[in-house]
């Protein structure tokens, strides 16, 4: 069974009866069995996957109406609720939390006969960019298992790139989809803020994060977007996309498009290999008829500081509910006054979450908000103004997704400040609400480099067209696992 096919290829084959969904899912489970000990992408695997596959096969055979996914195995980052399924956020705090409802993206995909093959690893509560902060151990980069797969949606990227599923849903608060996509060589997409419902996504920094697909191809991302985008009455921040078909005209190309190269994202600290790859990408785009020139976004240099201030503030509030009173883990309440109970119960958060909780308690507090939180909000609004100005001149903006190559596990874990800088090229899209995509571009010394394109809000379709054009110029070697 060829597990390397794209989502659209799978659907074509399954629809025509060329492959049995059961066999495909069974082979996928075998693949997980054989490689996941090494990679640790999965936190839990769906026990009913084979039954579900058999049911879909039956429907296909009997000519019954089958949903658009035709039993395609998808992995789900473990911060999205699937009813009656453990949803841990890779945290001891939610180790035994069984979600009582389906996230909107989940119910939409269920209706389309997707099979959720398992829940995948992440940095605890999505805070991190290496998956090393998972309470259940790090995931490994399938290109070189000594290296980090990126994060926080590391499990998603690993599972897609190593053929343990066809596609995955991750979430992107500051690059958490694009960063691991770049490190593992998959497509990773963060849509315009509000395009995909967050209902059922466990919040980290709700004002800037989005669910996004990780797939083998840009077309697969467009296909996924068709299924999960749009207004949701359960999420007041969703926007109307008029049922846009993102696959339609995906081959439009980028001739005549103006592309800005963000100066601040190719400056100090960039790895020379990444710089070279970026230049290659630019010349390929020019070869396709795009017009590229440099553009400066001065606020980018403050963006990471602003990002961590805002996300810590929101996280401090979003994670306050984990007091172990209504759900969580076993810890008897007898003999505690509630404040002391909560303090003790919350010691189950891991170090990175704890660090951000402490920052989140400080930066928006009465005496310090002016110096930190409100200043960060000012940077956010200035950066938005600046990028909106840039989009008056340019259709797209380009930069490497991450300025450096995937590093070794443990290499930066004790140096949170240098880790933070890995976010420099991705947080802008979150702070400004713009759509951004990471496209696999090159493998250097066995390690992937991704290129990021950004577009203006609600220009997701044009962004996918451009990404598809760039993707078509790229041929990559086989993954060694």
């Amino acid at each position: 069974m060829n597990l390397k096919i794209s989502a659209l290829e799978f659907i074509e084959e399954a629809k025509n009866g060329n492959i049995s969904v059961e066999e495909f899912v069974s082979a996928t489970l075998e693949r997980i069995n054989s490689v996941d000990d090494k990679l640790h992408a999965f936190l839990s695997v769906n026990d009913n996957a084979l039954d579900q596959a058999r049911n879909i096969d039956k429907k296909i055979k009997s000519g019954e109406k089958v949903g658009d996914c035709f039993g395609m195995p998808i992995s789900i980052k473990d911060n999205m609720c699937i009813k009656d399924t453990k949803t841990t956020c890779a945290s001891k705090m939610l180790e035994n939390f069984v979600a009582p409802y389906d996230a909107t993206v989940i119910s939409k995909l269920k209706k389309q006969d997707a099979i959720f093959i398992g829940k995948v690893n992440m940095d605890e509560f999505a805070m991190g960019l290496t998956t090393e902060f998972s309470a259940f151990g790090p995931s490994k980069n399938p290109w070189n298992i000594e290296h980090v797969p990126g994060g926080s949606s590391g499990g998603s990227a690993v599972s897609v790139s190593s053929y343990e599923c066809i596609a995955s849903l991750g979430s992107d608060t500051g690059g958490s989809v694009r960063n691991p996509a770049s490190f593992c060589s998959t497509v990773g997409y963060k849509p315009t803020y509000g395009l995909i419902s967050r209902y059922g996504l466990i919040s980290y920094a709700n004002s800037i994060e989005q669910i996004g697909p990780l797939t083998r191809t840009v077309k697969d991302t467009a296909f996924m977007l068709n299924l999960i985008a749009g207004v949701d009455p359960n999420d007041n921040t969703t926007v109307n996309n008029n049922n846009e078909d993102y696959l339609e005209n995906i081959d439009s190309g980028i001739e005549g498009k103006k592309i800005g190269i963000i100066t601040e994202m190719i400056g100090d600290g960039i790895d020379p290999e990444v710089m070279t790859a970026t230049k290659e990408a630019i010349s390929k785009l020019e070869g396709l008829g795009a017009i590229c020139e440099e553009v400066s976004l001065e606020m980018v240099k403050y963006s990471v500081a602003a990002y961590y201030t805002i996300t810590a503030t929101e996280a401090g509030s979003n994670l306050a509910r984990y007091d172990n009173l209504r759900y969580g883990y076993e810890m008897p309440v007898e003999g505690y006054e509630f404040n002391s109970y909560i303090s003790k119960a919350r010691k189950n958060f891991g170090p990175e979450v704890t660090r951000r909780m402490i920052i989140g308690g400080f930066v928006p507090s009465a005496g310090h908000a002016g110096k930190y939180f409100l200043k960060a909000m000012k940077v956010k609004s200035k950066l938005t103004k600046e990028i909106n100005e840039a989009f008056k001149k340019f259709d797209l903006l380009i930069a490497p997704t991450v300025p450096i190559l995937p590093f070794k596990i443990g290499e930066k874990i004790d140096d949170p400040v240098s880790l933070f800088l890995v976010d420099i090229n991705t947080v802008t899209a979150n702070l400004t609400g713009k759509p951004a995509i990471s496209i696999p571009f090159k493998i250097v010394n066995g390690l992937p480099i991704g290129i990021q394109l950004m577009a203006n809000s609600m220009n997701d379709k044009m962004l996918l067209q451009a990404a598809h054009a760039l993707e078509k110029t790229v041929t990559l070697p086989e993954i060694p696992i």
Binding site: F97, P100, I202, N206, N234, D235, N236, T237, R321, Y327
Partner: protein, 468 residues
Amino acid sequence: MTKIGLEIHCQLTNLESKLFCSCKANYREFEPNENICPVCAGMPGSLPRLNQEAVKKATMISMALNCSTPEKIAFFRKNYFYPDLPKNFQITQLNIYGDTSVGGSGTISVGDKKIRITRIQLEEDPGRLIYEGSSSKNQITLVDYNRAGTPLVEIVTEPDFETPKEVRDFLNILSDLLKNLGVADPSLEGAMRADANVSTRGGNKVEIKNIGSFHDLEKAAHFEITRQESLHDRDIPIAQETRHWDDRRKITVSSRSKEEDLDYRYFLEGDIPWVKINPEIKTELKSKMPESISSKKERYVTKYQIPEQVADVLSSDKFYSDLFEESHSETNAKEVANIITTELMGLEDTREKREASKLTASHLKDLADAIQTGKVSRNSSKNALHEILKTGKSVSQIISELDLGNVSDESELLKIIDQVISNESEAVEQAKSNPQTINYLVGKVMQATKGKADPTSTLNLLKKQIGI
């Protein structure tokens, strides 16, 4: 000088659903923790879904209290840990980053005084804590989240009250106003709660929290003023502090100082986008807004010549003024108003009695008409009203069944009058010398007819028979 400021929390009890989900706003009928869903229970991943109707109702209250209403409103998070708070933050409103709460400054007249409203905000109610167990050692705390997420309007006043009586008058007016708007029933248990700030002789401000009813609010203010005055008398300084109202002992008790310095780390609630309140919406709300109590009163006085005092009582009670509107006609308005204010309100003085009553608007109309056409005397109408409340039978049926019909036949009345005259010869003589005492004889006739005789014709016939 005493200064009192209030923060009043009023549930929008007439709404169908909670502020951010579709659970019932009326949580009172449920078993503990049965009126909850992932949203109001604060389950991971759930998001608030703003009840637009609540925004409209809160805006309506703001307009009725003459408050400014902004073009856009925003919600904020108030962060603190408490077991009754499912998310450990409360979604509320705030005006420190610009006027973004449903209502800005306004005023309300209380007697001759104008009380300034600082702001009005829309927010979610927390759950309820129930303490069980006798001693503090084996005390357990139970949490019921049924109430969590109920829409709440907080009305904040400037410290414009000088006496507990002013507070009471204000609360009565406010309570009538909310009922009249059809947004809330303040008499429901827990529907109205308040905090009060009290300072005396220009001293420190003391905040009293946890006052569970309007009745207790006046008492709490009274207690606190007395407490502060007695400290002043003994030259003991008054600490700026938060005190709790102990509704069992009816006193204020100092809270642990820990609670005072909470830093709520307010910031914008990103899950609820800013809500535009267009001029069109405001115009629509204005047109839908029920007639104000004062304009109702004026209409009753000028249109129907209802006495000012009666009009005052009638217009300030939403239930009875609605009943009045439904039952009166051009001709019987005064009579209907009279029956309601002098009889009915007394007979239905509790919610239970009102709910048990079988009276409808058409009963009231028929009864007023019967009085006006002389089918029943005003006196006997009281008995009829009693019977209507109990049985719900029609007015005509009751009049005939209870034999309440007027003695309208003059010859029959004359017979009775002659009887009275012959029995009461002494009183007849007295009446001849002092006509004022004739009322005694009228009374006797009424007694003999069980109140069915028309007093005016009785008087006239009596005079004629005695010859005065």
